[in-house]
């Protein structure tokens, strides 16, 4: 039981990741892929954040700044937070680029379903020039 209580958080994160991962690789709608991507990345961030948590610790902003020796056990591990700030930025950047691509694709094919686009590509001989 202890084992489960101490680990079930990780397992739920993994389930979340896998939901996103599943959507990324199996959905044929491109937007849905992006939704999956978002879920996946956010779940990874959740995983990282949970690495830094300590029982009985508080947010990593040092309150009593005049005290010389700060007890590190009292504060959350800030490193994963920093890493994840970067990861969030990466995530939103990727998302922005993906959305831009999505709009371009819709402009060109008038659909966002991957199978329909492939159908269009099969039916239509694209001219070999640009």
């Amino acid at each position: 039981m202890d084992f489960i209580i101490s680990k079930f958080n990780y397992w739920i994160y993994i389930v979340l990741m896998m939901i996103g991962f599943y959507a990324m690789i199996s959905k044929s709608n491109l937007v849905k892929k992006l939704v999956g991507m978002n879920i996946f990345q956010t779940a990874i961030i959740l995983f990282f954040i949970s690495i830094g948590s300590k029982k009985g610790a508080t947010i990593p902003i040092i309150q009593d700044s005049h005290v010389d020796a700060v007890n590190s056990a009292l504060y959350m591990n800030p490193l994963p937070h920093v890493l994840m700030l970067t990861a969030i930025v990466v995530m939103v950047s990727t998302f922005g680029v993906a959305v831009a691509l999505l709009i371009m694709i819709y402009r060109k094919y008038k659909t966002l379903e991957e199978d329909e686009i492939l159908q269009i590509l099969r039916n239509e001989k694209w001219p070999n020039t640009h």
């Binding site: 902003i61 930025v89 922005g96 959305v99 831009a100 709009i103 402009r107």
Partner: protein
Amino acid sequence: MINRFENIIIQTISRLLIPPIQLYALYVIAHGHYSPGGGFQGGCILGASFILMVIAYDIKETKRMISEKINTIFISLGVIIYSGIGAVCLILGADYLDYGILNKIFSVSPAKARALGTFGVEIGVGITVMAVMVSIFLNLVSGGEHEEAQE
């Protein structure tokens, strides 16, 4: 949301809300040393205020505030500020991004100089993030049809 649609309630409330939002964003950037927040969050909020402007009014209106060209300059300005501060440290004889050396300029203790450097960097991040968010959103909603696009 590109089309101009007059909704007096939304427009009035936005007009009221946007300055405090922007002020708050600046606060978030500036107060990152002491409370949650920093360049990225502040930049996002600042960008969001412009996005709200786009939604409430329209693109042209927003463009008057922050034109495409200015925005592009801002995008690169942030990175230039960031890497520039790093380069200044390099020129002053320390390693890249070693803000401690900035005490040669500001005559404060190295720790304070580091805080100053951090602040400068946060400003850089904030500018870039704001400009990029606005730029992406404008490009998304307008489909890239700006008056400057033809150049």
